[in-house]
Subunit: 451 residues, 2 copies
């Protein structure tokens, strides 16, 4: 298919153009870029033959909707992706500028390359190719591409909860996860949820001289340290009362399947993590720890004097960004209350501590027996030449829970990212062959579903 080959090459060039727009949803200064990125994907939907498109405003950044419903009697798919990306700091660690995409060693290096512009583009371009080749599609499609995935997806959550008729579909297809290993087609059946917030600690009215008051005045950084150590012990076991109560253990068959996945723990430690050892709860495998166990992490901390040199001050306040990842059947609203109670119990004398919830998402688990998932697995097997594996992901895609809860539809998570793609980190990349194979696999999936 030389025609498809040249189509895919052109699709890559268009993706690079989209990646040049710094659509960072969390930063107010990028608001204009967000609109440009939304316009860009809306135009692409039109090119792909959508008979109607629309920008839907519910919060800060619009969702982009597009539909083609010309296959009566055939299934309808809701194709989901997001055009917003994570911030880029620490910027000095990028080898090439995050918004000047560069292709090196068959990888696209750019913020959003995998997460999720690159994978969203697979969906758009697979549809465009089918439309271009056949003048019609084998199934009905609705696109819903959001702009607030990286900041909690409240807009889309609100919209989906309104159960709009135009989102009615048999299944959602989401390309925002990863393959277990290069060349190994993978479908993600479980995602972790999230409760993200800030832990604010106030001690004295103002910064104090550590000589004059040291020994008698409370220290808010020390207080945060004490609270964190009370919330999680040295083994990584979370000490928040009630936290583990509703955790569902993976079925033995699922754990067995995980155990047979190609995985070298030493290589994972060295190549992916780059620390001196893997940490976390004793007695659990890396898959358990990152897919099936909830976590508590600190993402950032700030307090007192952090300039060059020395300042002998006891700061008045400090703040840490913390989150927990949740697994089925933990509920974000319950975990928020558990966290608040545990923080209150752990707050040392002399300071005030407050957990300010920022955003959350429920965990999700889907049934691999659905025909929508089975056909996807077979389509990927055709293209990649290997049996599709069912894995989970430690990350959160809040929309998966919303689609299930509000629209009653399962989500098919066809992921084409790779484990070392540096999501949310400097030097994010996307493997070009996965981009091309992703288009082929989605084309085959739609053909199979329509057959």
């Amino acid at each position: 298919m030389p025609e498809l080959e040249s189509f895919k090459k052109q699709a890559l060039e268009q993706l690079l153009e989209w990646l040049r727009i710094p659509s960072i949803s969390t930063l107010p200064e990028n608001k204009g870029d967000m609109l440009r990125a939304a316009d860009y994907v809306e135009a692409a939907m039109k090119t792909a033959g959508m008979t109607r498109t629309e920008q839907i405003h519910r919060a800060e950044h619009p969702m982009v909707y597009g539909e083609w419903l010309g296959a009566p009697g055939k299934p309808t798919l809701l194709l989901y992706g997001h055009y917003d990306v994570q911030p880029v700091d620490p910027i000095e660690e990028w080898k090439s500028a995050p918004f000047e995409p560069e292709i090196r060693n068959e990888n696209i290096y750019a913020r959003g390359a995998t997460d999720d512009k690159g994978q969203t583009w697979i969906l758009v371009k697979a549809v465009e190719w089918l439309m271009k080749r056949d003048g019609k599609l084998p199934v009905n499609v609705r696109f819903l591409i959001e702009g607030e995935e990286e900041v909690g997806g409240e807009a889309i959550e609100k919209y989906v909860s309104e159960k709009p008729a135009q989102l009615q579909a048999d299944a959602a297809v989401i390309c925002d996860s990863e393959m277990f290993a290069p060349g190994l087609p993978s479908i993600c059946t479980g995602l972790r949820g999230l409760v993200y917030g800030e832990l604010h600690v106030e001690a004295a009215r103002q910064d104090l001289h550590s000589g004059v008051y040291g020994g008698a005045a409370p220290n808010p950084i020390m207080a945060i340290a004490e609270i964190l150590c009370a919330l999680k012990d040295k083994d990584g076991h979370i000490q928040v009362p009630g936290f583990y109560d509703s955790v569902v253990e993976p079925a033995p068959a699922e754990k067995e399947a995980w155990a047979s996945l190609p995985f070298d723990e030493a290589e994972y430690l060295e190549k992916e993590i780059g620390a001196t050892s893997i940490t976390g709860e004793p007695g659990f495998s890396v898959f358990d720890k990152t897919w099936a166990r909830p976590t508590l992490e600190v993402h950032g901390i700030r307090g007192g004097f952090v300039g060059e040199g020395a300042k002998t001050v006891i700061p008045a306040r400090a703040v840490a960004k913390i989150s927990t990842r949740l697994v089925a059947n933990q509920k974000p609203e319950e975990v928020i209350e558990q966290l608040k109670a545990a923080i209150a119990a752990a707050t040392p004398k002399g300071v005030k501590a407050e957990f300010k919830f920022l955003h959350g998402a429920g965990p999700s688990l889907v049934n691999p027996d659905s025909p929508f998932i089975r056909e996807s697995a077979l389509a990927m097997e055709e293209i990649f030449g290997k049996k599709t594996v069912f894995i989970r992901s430690g990350g959160s895609i809040p929309i998966v829970g919303s689609f299930l809860t509000h629209l009653g539809m399962p989500s098919v998570l066809m992921g084409f990212g790779l484990p070392d793609d540096n999501l949310h980190s400097p030097n994010e990349k996307f493997h070009v062959p996965n981009f091309y194979n992703g288009i082929d696999a989605v084309v085959r999936y739609l053909e199979r579903l329509g057959a």
Copy 2:
């Protein structure tokens, strides 16, 4: 003495001018201001009748020396002060700009108002007044005004250790401490030492996605929290092995004298600290805690994402600025080794931790029976009309130890600051009547010593 009154008013105006120079020794961008502040005090020494002045360069910022040795047979005093000041952040908490001195309610508000330009100016102006009035001084004086007190005083330490002939004196007089209460003349007989450094923790090679790796990857902020909690328990008791071994308890008589000082703990908590309670080791008084017990404090911490909003990252590294205040007879070099060993023992799996020593100072205790201290106490009693109390200070003036070790001279710490003067904090201030009385007291002290 109307003439002295107008002299003191003029001295105040000149002090305000000096305070306008942002002589922050720790910031490279203020290097030029440091030189201007040094020139300003050198010119004032000349005006005060010093027969020789000199700027002595040993490190980053010069020391300013001045001498008048025209009273043979009389004692020689080494008058010490410093012209460098602390940084000003958090700048937004200042009611008036730190380098635009404002007088409100009989207080000068400015960075360095008390610590130490205002108090240094007392020494310079007392000498000038005596010279102006009598054409000579009752004792011999040498000034040594340094510019690196707030960054560890390495230059002066090095210089004093060379035992230069021109520093030969019978006693040092230092105005860089505080009165116990407004109107209560105070001499400080003990100072705490310091070991200040940075705790660097490295975990992964780069920032990691907290969803993908959370549960298996080490977290450097959590590691710092664990190390801090291992170094100091919830009661403020330091858990560094050997740390308390050489601590000298205050004599019972000294503790009794402290117990009779006018002190309202509730007011101290409310007005000076402004937190919900006093903290620190159970069973110790506030004086014990801040004057006679060593401490371990965190001054600042930085790691991961601290911008607005949410970023789900596990940072690669984090750093905390920490220090211990030492009391007699702890030795900085021993404490550094104890800290390093305790940090190594407390470092959790998966991360590398390193303590980088920045600077230190030994603690000091002086003998109140020295005639130089006795005459100072009597001079202050004359001016303030109250019996002078002997207190200690929780802060560090490293030069006091150096004067004793290298030059064999006791230091007389006549302090005119007040406990709520906000040293090292926003809205630093200096009580104008204390500035005026300080000049009178130093004048009387020199007269008494020369009699």
